[in-house]
Symmetry: C2
Amino acid sequence: MSMVPHGGDLAAAEARWGRPAKGWLDLSTGINPVPYPVPPIDPAAWQRLPQHDRLRALLQTARSCYAAPADAPIVAAPGTQILIQLLPRLRPGARVAILGPTYGEHAACWAAEGARVTIVGSLEEAAAAEVVVLVNPNNPDGRIVRVERLLASAGDLAARGGLLVVDEAFAEVTPEVSIAAEAGRPGLLILRSFGKFFGLAGIRLGFALGAAAEVERLARWLGPWAVPGPAIEIGIAALSNRGWQNETRARLAADAERLTALLLAHGFAYRGGTALFRLVEHPEAARVWDRLGRAGILVRPFPDRPALLRFGLPADEAGFARLAAALG
Amino acid sequence: MSMVPHGGDLAAAEARWGRPAKGWLDLSTGINPVPYPVPPIDPAAWQRLPQHDRLRALLQTARSCYAAPADAPIVAAPGTQILIQLLPRLRPGARVAILGPTYGEHAACWAAEGARVTIVGSLEEAAAAEVVVLVNPNNPDGRIVRVERLLASAGDLAARGGLLVVDEAFAEVTPEVSIAAEAGRPGLLILRSFGKFFGLAGIRLGFALGAAAEVERLARWLGPWAVPGPAIEIGIAALSNRGWQNETRARLAADAERLTALLLAHGFAYRGGTALFRLVEHPEAARVWDRLGRAGILVRPFPDRPALLRFGLPADEAGFARLAAALG
């Protein structure tokens, strides 16, 4: 089991507060609470080994959805997490700078494989590193590093055999932030997550795009059938459905604004976020967290920054009303 | 993409023979063609991150189904293949003896990670190895190495820091062959596959059982959410359904006997197998393979042993009739 704290563990919440009568309102993740509707799944997708032609179709659909070049090297994995676990093998023992604070698994996975990890506050502080990792837009604070700055950094790193890892786990809500159109450049590796924007985190589907040197190694380490047949079919359907994606982007943006307004009205200060989550500060954040937990509402605390909380989006009116009542 | 030849790639078959009017009768794998019926899946299993308490329930169900000790270290993975990809990291650069001929990915994965791989014909020939790998019962010839012999080998290997890997991908049809009751002994690592016996290869679910030293490292490399939520739920349902398992064992045994009789009646010699596949020899095997392919029936050839073919089981009367007609 990972030692990194995460949202979304309802069993742990029940161990603390008991099972709420109304069920959990889980706002502890950055997962879209209104998922892409899972289409009927051809029984063959469950029964057969995943088919290579369908996997190729998934990869082509992903390139197109992410506006990556049509020939960009890309690999699919059963979740982005397993790609994060594999990244340290691309540069064993490297000096790694991670733009923090951010998603904790990056530092944990590099350190577990013997890398020398430093958490830095800006790309400028990462000048001595062989590998630079950032989440863009960042989790939890929504910090955005612009594409031109990333390209300069990737170029610098490539010139000395290094690597810039850009984790775009939340980039669907702000596609203009994405560097996926540059996928294939040496020194640049991009991670994309399916589950968050499409609201299907249980499916486990993620992608890495980059130069052939890195992507082919990741693909070889994952082996020939790493992505389940149903995940391939659901991925093709969802990644090609631009209508749903556009509507969802608009809905998430509106709901995120509404969430911010609600939190500001209850004494929180806005500290950043994306349309999938809001990071807020409160002088009594720990007490608010506990009060919400006792009301069956799970939000994300940060043990080393106790004044902060991260709120995901409620799915609907009832969710907003329940949150408002519990905050009141 | 893997360079190891495998069954089950229908797109490759269509590139060669075109799409058959009646659809493919795919007998090229060892997957049960009558799958465990996929139960209705709670939408939460798709939407949420896989829950640790459900994963623990899956692991406990698997231990019980495999008759492993209740406290045996065990890890679940998205398919056994990805475990095979990870095994070389347990003993980097080791001298590895693989009991062959067998499933090609074992040798390929160890060799790709820099191990010194020898294919041996018996455990006696493996005396100098640090790691010994066998599939038991073996694919494709059904060879069985008895538990006592395996325990002696694991003990020898453990005494010098080595490892015996027993891939029980097809052991459900002959549970008496399994060494899972010994899981936890040092020097012994057991792989179990969900997809073959349960007929759900698309789901991607496999397990490794063994000593904590090895299992904990595999779990760390896979990360916290390697198995999709739906796979966890389907796995719990199927692995705990002893009635379905017993009926399936009996049906597979009967169908395998019937398949053998059909093949013997058409000039094949029986060379081994399990109840999930039959290995047969024919002086004109390459021509038979091509004739079957043109008739829309896919079976498994062996490029380096051209007189052999491996047949999986037809699902039903229509499948047996179609195979009989094409062989006639």
